[in-house]
């Protein structure tokens, strides 16, 4: 038997779907609309499409709203422009995760800067960037630090390592962002009607479940931290709907095999030592969100590219035709964007949601055609 069989068991899936339908039917009837459940994490979006979970659930009862949980996708153009400017400095080796190479700025992407001769290098880990710094003591090596709480500990620990070794030519361009603050901004958005959340698995592995408490306490919405298997997601969805049906709103954890209640103490300690909250951070499509990003503490100024290099604060408007913000807020579905699949494709992305495989638009583009053929009404409803 394959290991994964128990998580892809069609009988278990059918039982869960039947239970979800039974609980959701009266709730959707009361509201006169489907229950809107946001999966915050781009990895979940990927699973939902890959395994056709959307098509298994009646669209008049359940609507998945794809959340902002792809850190590459929410990078504003101004920050990408900063990267390109840094990379063009002839003394700089600019290092980045591969995902960020193709994100468009207003003057092209890092990939284009590389083609034009800038020394841009793709790395798997910030530790690889540190290794490049060790080997090139005459050059400045900058690592493009991005991602949610999942990748924050890795860059924090890399900086702590650089400090221990006294490496002076290594710095971070810090663009890390935090999930709870972003969810608060979404919940404050007046045009959003979410009924509950599927919480991110790997972010929660780091931060634990307590940072979400305000979602239940202040905003009265249920949240269930979910694993990435198709049955994980169905079970988590069932747990969310069950809470709504019973009039509860709590933070529950379906992914206990990975997510400890209190998170990862070592990771949180490293993050707390190196980073502190920014007052505001700019998001593509969502605008400026309070306390949604982190910057490096003053103690680490010599590892902070924003302090080491002159870096203008660029606020660049998203392309006019792009509707990434409306997609991120769940106001429209990716294929309802006016440039989806025409001016904006995975090969030539206009908006960031089309860039990464975890972006909602890229997922729709890859898997969505089938779903739309099978459910022609979907485009008209949402």
């Amino acid at each position: 038997m394959r290991y994964a069989d128990e998580f892809r068991d069609p009988d278990k899936a059918r039982t869960l779907v039947a239970e979800i339908v039974r609980l959701a039917a009266p709730l959707a009837a009361d509201r006169g609309r489907p229950l809107q459940i946001m999966e915050v994490c781009g990895g979940h979006t990927h699973t939902i499409f890959r395994y056709g979970l959307k098509a298994m659930l009646p669209q008049e009862l359940i609507e998945f709203v794809h959340g902002p949980g792809c850190p590459v996708c929410v990078l504003p153009m101004g920050r990408v422009d900063n990267c390109v400017a840094l990379a063009r400095n002839p003394n700089v080796i600019f290092t980045t995760f591969g995902d960020a190479m193709r994100v468009p700025g207003s003057h092209g992407s890092l990939l284009q800067a590389k083609a034009d001769g800038a020394d841009v290098r793709m790395v798997y880990s910030p530790l690889d960037a540190l290794q490049i710094a060790r080997k090139n003591p005459g050059r400045e090596v900058i690592f493009f630090a991005l991602g949610f709480e999942t990748t924050m500990p890795s860059t924090a620990l890399t900086v702590l390592q650089a400090r221990r070794e006294g490496i002076g030519n290594f710095s971070l361009f810090c663009n890390h962002i935090t999930i709870p603050a972003t969810m608060k901004a979404l919940l404050d958005s007046p045009d959003l009607m979410l009924d509950g959340f599927l919480g991110p698995g790997h972010v929660s592995m780091v931060i634990g479940n307590r940072p979400y408490d305000f979602i239940a306490r202040v905003y009265h919405r249920p949240l269930v931290v979910s694993g990435f298997e198709p049955l994980d997601l169905l079970q988590s969805l069932w747990m969310v709907i069950k809470q709504i049906a019973e009039g509860r709103c709590e933070i529950e954890n379906q992914y206990t095999r990975i997510v400890p209640e209190e998170g990862n103490a070592q990771a949180l300690a490293a993050v707390g030592e190196v980073f502190e909250l920014r007052d505001f951070f700019e998001w593509r499509g969502l605008g400026s969100i309070e306390h949604s990003g982190v910057k490096m503490r003053a103690d680490f100024a010599r590892f902070d590219a924003e302090r080491k290099f002159s870096m203008p604060h660029l606020t660049v408007a998203d392309p006019k035709a792009c509707q990434c913000g409306d997609v991120l807020k769940g106001l429209i579905k990716p294929h309802q964007c006016r440039v989806f699949g025409t001016a904006c494709t995975p090969e030539t992305p206009l908006g960031a949601l089309m860039v990464s495989s975890e972006g909602a638009c890229a997922a729709y583009h890859q898997y969505g055609r089938l779903t739309r053929t099978a459910q022609p009404a979907a485009a008209a409803s949402a």
Partner: protein, 91 residues
Amino acid sequence: MCLGIPGRVVEITDAVNKLGLVDVCGVRRQINLACVVDAEHSVAACVGDWVLVHVGFAMSRIDEHEAQLTLELLEQLGEAQGEINAMQPVT
């Protein structure tokens, strides 16, 4: 970047800096173990552990069953090979 990939700790290469060699589907590379080490679980005790690796850092100890599940999921999502290719160490 966000999903991570399971691997098994083969040996400790630098106990002071908490670095160890981890085998991910036959590719071995040095991984930072700081986040899976604590008072009850020393660096040396990590040898043989299955861990979930995110961008060069072990972020969680998992059991073998969970490791196999996650690998199969990544293969089906088409994410496994890219992650393994990306893990090749810089020279």
